[in-house]
Amino acid sequence: MPTANGLKKNMIQINNLSKVYRTKTIETTALNNINLHVEKGEFLSIMGPSGCGKSTLLNIIGLLDEPTSGEIKIDGNGIKTYNSKATAKFRNQRLGFIFQSFHLIPDLNILDNVELPLIYRNIGRKERKRLSEAALESVGLKNRMNHYPAQLSGGQKQRVAIARAIVGKPNIILADEPTGNLDSAMGNEVMDILIDLNKTSKTTIVMVTHDANMAKRTDRLMRLYDGTQIQ
């Protein structure tokens, strides 16, 4: 999306980012000197073989992990200066997560699962319900809001996870292999929802995937190999 001076706004800015895991005997470089700029409203997919650092990169963008070196800015905010409370608040208000294995809480019904991010935002019960119902409607599951995760198919679970990710209207959605546990039909269904979300609400989406067909449907593809950016 162009800014006032005609330039597109950077939503995610990563400069010279590296992540090294150290034990007493071994040092493993998970990410090596990554540079990445994701524009507002862009749908980026990250591909690469298993263990190449895709999820590590996504976790760092999602402030679930810290880089060993380098700089990361999200929506213009330098994250390094944030303390743990500010980081948690940032995640809650600006980011939405979608996981391969859905991570729905089995003891809560669909509506309660979707409400979860709003609980940490101290939003009142009625408002939470209204927003959650709207989010479920947008993924076509409003009629299932009183069901439990165990009563849903994989595709439906992932749609619930999408509803949970968008209920707080975040700027960025981070999806870690959202179609990885689904068959191609369900995978495409989920992908349609994500593309629609990206187009209609201009939400920036970063998606890690193994599936080249899904990656092709995004605006841009980034490839990683052994922690190094190759495309």
């Binding site: 809650n92 997560f97 979860l116």
Partner: protein, 388 residues
């Protein structure tokens, strides 16, 4: 958030009900033990009504003589001889209801129009002085009472408070095994021990009633050497021409009774402690296992904006709420005891026991929840989200 936690607890009602049952039973045991301890300590802190330091007793075996008149004569002689020794300040005589004896004589009489139940003790005019009985109103027996037309009695405060509350009963005549005149009120005479329950006690004048004499109570001067016991032993032996008697130190008798009373409480308290310890270990284990099972949930909550303190708080509040449900059920049952007066003792003992049982339960639960919850909060979200 509370509503959210209640939903989680309700959905796990199967496993939570077992924890609740464990806490509920612990609460009941704690309540019972604490009630017993408070009951005992209340009585322990109440005045006995007499002194125990430098007080000795001489008990003469009743088998020594079967002729009670003769025995009474010997008691009077003994009293006179003992008073002649340099260490004895006063000597009193009573029947078998001497300090820490364990003997009891009780009467129930409803001639007053309502039943009066009181313990009976027979004592002579010097008995109060020899044990320093605390007379709060009126007087103790004296020589004049021997020839008085009335039958005198001295009662304890509990007697008046129970049967004649808010009445001045001094010099009143009541029907208790015949007409008796209350000439004095003493603080108490809890002679069976420091844990004796509060009850009505009445002294009758021994020379007037002529029951069998049994015990001599001696008030010794401070600093009486222990060797005096040998001297006393010889003196009594020479006077009664027998060795069928016992000399005891009242404070030693008190200590022995004390041990006998505390022993069951110490045993029950130890069992209670181990029960609580086991409950604590069980809770710790259950919480730890819960957290391991819920790692993915923890990771998710962190990802969607929960701070580490939110995670720790959630686990602590969850277990505290389960404990609260168990305690409320426990309180529902235990509160019936004072309300319905199922056990006729001071209700405050039960309320105190409930209060402290609740405190102890919540302290145990909080302590057990603290470490696992803290560990849950420390779980790295990225790691937790990839464990499935």
């Amino acid at each position: 958030m509370i509503q959210h936690i209640i939903k989680l607890i309700w959905k796990k009602k199967g496993s939570n009900s077992l924890i609740m049952l464990e806490i509920f039973l612990s609460f009941l045991v704690l309540f019972a033990v604490l009630s017993l301890v408070f009951y005992q300590t209340d009585r322990m802190n109440a005045p006995l009504g007499f002194d125990i330091e430098n007080k000795w007793l001489i008990q003469i075996d009743r088998k020594y003589k079967t002729d009670s008149t003769n025995l009474d004569g010997i008691f009077v002689d003994l009293k006179r001889e003992l008073m002649a020794t340099k260490y004895i300040k006063s000597v009193g005589i009573c029947n078998a209801m001497s300090p820490f004896s364990g003997s009891t004589m009780e009467t129930v009489d409803d001639a007053q129009g309502f039943p009066i139940t009181t313990r009976l003790v027979y004592a002579d005019e010097d008995f109060a002085k020899s044990l320093n009985l605390k007379i709060t109103e009126g007087r103790w027996f004296n020589e004049e009472d021997k020839s008085a037309i009335y039958d005198p009695m001295v009662v304890n405060k509990y007697f008046i408070e129970t049967y004649f509350p808010n009445q001045n009963m001094m010099d009143s005549t009541i029907d208790l095994n015949g007409q008796k005149k209350i000439i004095g009120v003493m603080e108490d005479y809890r002679y069976t021990g420091i844990y004796e329950q509060f009850q009505a006690t009445t002294f009758f004048f021994l020379p007037k009633r002529k029951p069998q004499m049994a015990v001599l109570s001696l008030d010794l001067i401070e600093g009486t050497p222990l060797s005096f016991e040998i001297e006393l032993n010889e003196l009594v032996k020479s006077l009664i021409k027998s060795t069928n008697f016992t000399i005891s130190n009242v404070s030693n008798l008190r200590d022995n009774t004390h041990k006998m009373t505390w022993l069951p409480i110490v045993i029950i308290s130890s069992i209670c402690f181990f029960l609580c310890f086991n409950v604590a270990l069980g809770l710790f284990g259950v919480l730890w296992s819960n957290i391991q099972k819920r790692k993915s949930e923890i990771g998710l909550r962190r990802a969607i904006g929960a701070h580490t303190t939110d995670i720790a708080k959630q686990f602590i509040v969850e277990i505290l709420m389960v404990a609260a449900f168990a305690v409320v059920i426990g309180l529902f049952f235990t509160i019936q005891i004072p309300i319905l007066k199922i056990i006729p003792i001071d209700s405050m003992i039960f309320f105190r026991a409930m209060f402290f049982a609740v405190l102890i339960i919540f302290a145990i639960v909080s302590l057990c929840a603290l470490y696992p919850s803290n560990q849950a909060a420390r779980i790295h979200p990225a790691t937790a989200l990839h464990e499935d």
